[in-house]
């Protein structure tokens, strides 16, 4: 019953044509890619669709599911040239560009994927704009003596259109999400 309700919810929104969830036209965030290249978000991505997932690299389970879903979306869309994929890290203190490069490398991702981060102020502002929340859930000390913290976080993949408007948003780690987003793309492009 719960699954039915969730599916109905998704289907309802999937049927809405280019509903604008957030308009980022007036926004501007200076960020860095995994290669330490400066980018201005969202300006540098205008003219393309952007599929964006929210992750942190010390997350071993949910965030890889989000990343894997983004890979599935790309594969099922047929790797279109007008779609770029962004993994946004909400853990800027630990997820330096070099860490993001290692994360990208582990998933064997090509140039259509970038992972981005920034200084803590900018990352926090972007998270507020996109209603992404985090909260330290617990800390642990490893056998090697390293203290680690883990985060509760929003579970989200969104799609921004070429005019920098967020038009699609789903729970990022859910297994049905790639199919839903691909169906949405097909409707949008009709």
């Amino acid at each position: 019953m719960r699954l039915l309700l969730v599916l109905s919810f998704f289907l309802f929104f999937a049927c809405q044509r280019t509903q604008v969830i957030d308009d980022l036209n007036d926004a501007s965030f200076e960020l860095l890619t995994q290669d330490s290249v400066s980018v201005t978000f969202p300006d540098d991505y205008k003219g393309k669709y952007v599929v964006m997932g929210f992750v942190y690299t010390n997350c071993p389970d949910i965030c890889p599911l989000i990343t894997q879903n983004m890979i599935k979306i790309k594969e099922e869309l047929g790797s279109p040239e007008d779609v770029h994929f962004l993994g946004f890290s909400f853990d800027p203190e630990r997820d330096t560009p070099s860490k993001l490069a290692e994360y990208k490398s582990a998933f064997r991702l090509d140039d259509s994927f970038d992972f981005i981060t920034g200084d803590t102020t900018t990352v926090s502002a972007l998270m507020d704009s996109l209603r992404v929340r985090t909260q330290v859930s617990f800390t642990t000390t490893t056998d090697a003596g390293e203290e680690l913290y883990f985060l509760n976080h929003s579970d989200k993949i969104m799609v921004m259109d070429p005019q920098s408007r967020v038009i699609i948003e789903y729970g990022g780690s859910q297994p049905m999400v790639p199919n839903l987003i691909v169906e949405d793309f097909q409707k949008i492009r009709q």
């Binding site: 071993p60 389970d61 582990a106 617990f138 390293e146």
Partner: protein, 156 residues
Amino acid sequence: MTRLASRSVLLLIALILACSPKQETPEKNTVNIGNGSLEISNGWARPAHARMMTAAYFTIRNNETFADTLLSVSYANADDTQIHESYEADGGMMGMRPVGAVPIPANSGVELKPGGIHVMIIRPEMNLSEGDSIVLELAFSSNELQLIRIPVKASN
């Protein structure tokens, strides 16, 4: 042989296996323990860069008429290995919390799977790439210690 000695031998074997070159892993990937009283199958681990974080998953079937418990999992070539559970936290967020041990009811099974209970491998010493395999040591309350070799792959 005492439990300590048994554990030391298993750890030594784990170290030798873990340091050995990549090996082909049987497709079925099923291990029987104690004449089939416990069955472990469908094991796999996600790829990860060295010194990062990853997760391993597998299914445990308990064919006995009494319950068992998975007490711990360890991977010799990492800083630490812990059993965790992903869950839906307050405010629609996703979270993760430690799980002390995993009960395995009699004549039943437990699936460690993405989005649920998983083994968190903290800071592996080497890159774990698709096509590699790793050896985990599983400790059960029934005094069974078991080594399993599981493939590294992007998804199951």
